[in-house]
Symmetry: C2
Subunit: 337 residues, 2 copies
């Protein structure tokens, strides 16, 4: 059933600190029929990711900025309504750069058909999507994960963190997650099998909490947060330790930038801090998805989707990420599958 | 001629900030004749290195602390006076852990005979010594130096820095050094062939100076200093840039610790910061020395030794390093060759 309007969320103005509803506006356009090489898609799930906060800065650096007045850039899964692309037919489920809109008309570039034998639509927006792939390549490749590592994960109850910690657990590591509040901490230990959780909201001193969790120190710190927890992990990093720089969700506003005073500890510890972007690994996504799919089917890998209802929930959803109000991968549901 | 006293510099008390004469005391002991497995040595050149400041902290981390009342740990070159070690004979020149003392009695462990066909005694305490090897493995292995890199070196007129910058120049890189004062900057550009030098004492804003020196950004930053210059380099680091964490000579006192606010830039830049210790590479020292010896003999590689006269000059020498008062590798000369 093709509806006759494409509802959109567009960027209205760039944020200073945390981004939210004030930075976006809704708009409605008529559906645009696809031309050659294009697909008309009905969005089902649209992603809300911390990286979006960077994309709406004036100079994101590694990708072009989202322009004022443009539809907000977002990945998502949806159903093809009309196709002018060979190999895609109405009814196909696809994943691509849909943007925050209900009925995008998109090119096939960056779009792929979903193999539902690997997992459900919810799996594809979750543990088979780029959020989980970020965790997979980050902790395994950038972090050089090994079975006897002591692993600390910050933002551990978020979309990337819940996966990174589980990937380390599945290798046999001792894994401790940092999250905000008792509910998230229980999620980590009771549902995801983390060895322990640190509730950063309840700890007077993160460095002491990290030292208690890892008396022998941390081999691998997967950091989604930055700032104080990064400094605490540096202090307790073991010799030849690795810090995977995945996100800095605590550091969105200039006035909130925490000065890390102990980067010099990397020297004597022979340790490294390394950043990465998941798309650098896009030639290896299939490998990761096959692995993840097996672990999902065996029940060894769990995930939680935090689903907001309706496109209009997306802007506030973005602010929830930075207020630590999500548990699991945050998405908006725009239509039924 | 064997003198009958071993003059020593011992650690008296641990420093808070910069270490200097107040932290050490002189002592005199009778010479101790070597037992089986030992050598009696006459020190000729003794090293003064930034790492010593870490060794006299209570918890250096990667090496045991120098104990209060002990002879200060130091590398050096000297001449064997008496030997109870097979393969070493009186008159042999050796390099080893002599400590700040005129006539150490040492074991053969960590001691090696000097191959004077590779270079002079001054070369062995300088560009064939661990200071230069630190630069060699740091910039080439840790930094993954490549010919088209834009290379920034801090502490560039110091013992490690002068070598690191030249090693990059010899690969064909554009190299800019950061040093304190016009004389050191002239040394870099006029004698060592650096492409440019930044006088940090004359610059109001280091980030602006780095941006001017490298309008396209920095691929490899070899950091001996830490703090503000590290932050500036992070800001102007290129995609897939590398920061070699070699030293943090600006950050010796707790109250001087500069908070680096932009480590999160590593993420989008897919960049890394990595620390190392030269002794991790000790199986490859010969390879590096062969390379360095050739470049010394061809005249392509230069070095400056900053020679202080007499053992008693060592404690103040250590403070000179942290006050940016040395140009080139700092040593004390204890005896004639």
């Amino acid at each position: 059933m093709i509806q006759n309007a494409n509802r959109q969320i567009r960027l209205k103005q760039r944020p200073d600190g945390i981004a939210g509803p004030d930075n976006f506006e809704e708009a409605v356009e008529p559906l645009r029929q696809p031309e050659d090489g294009e697909l008309l898609v009905e969005s089902i799930y649209l992603s809300i990711d911390p990286a979006m906060r960077v994309w709406i800065d004036e100079n994101p650096g590694y990708v072009p900025a989202v322009e004022i007045g443009s539809v907000m850039r977002a990945g998502g899964v949806g159903r093809v309504l009309e196709s002018r692309v060979p190999g895609f037919a109405p009814g196909d489920y696809i994943q691509g750069r849909l943007g925050w809109q209900t009925h995008p008309t998109i090119t096939a570039e960056g779009t792929h058909k979903l193999d539902l034998s690997l997992g459900s639509l919810e799996d594809w927006i979750g543990p088979l999507g780029t959020t989980a792939l970020t965790a997979w390549f980050g902790i395994r490749d950038v972090g050089a994960l090994s079975a006897d590592d002591f692993v600390l994960v910050s933002g551990a109850a978020g979309g990337v963190g819940q996966m990174a910690g589980q990937f380390a657990k599945l290798e046999g590591c001792r894994v401790v997650g940092v999250a905000g509040g008792p509910e998230k901490c229980r999620y980590l230990t009771d549902e995801l099998n983390f060895d322990a959780a640190i509730d950063y909201k309840a700890e007077a001193d993160l460095a002491t909490a990290v030292a208690s969790a890892f008396p022998e120190g941390v081999d691998l710190f997967f950091d989604n947060v930055g700032g104080e927890i990064l400094e605490a992990a540096l202090l307790h990093l073991r010799s030849k330790g690795r810090i995977v720089m995945c996100g800095r969700i605590s550091q969105t506003a200039a006035e909130e930038r925490y000065g890390v005073t102990n980067t010099g500890l990397l020297i004597g510890k022979r340790a490294r801090m390394q950043g990465f972007i998941v798309s650098d690994y896009n030639g290896r996504y299939d490998e990761a998805r096959q692995w993840i799919s097996k672990k999902l089917k065996s029940g060894e890998l769990k995930q939680r989707l935090h689903v907001l209802d309706g496109l209009e929930a997306a802007p506030d959803g973005l602010s929830m990420l930075f207020r630590s109000q999500n548990t699991g991968k945050l998405v908006v549901k725009v239509a039924d599958a």
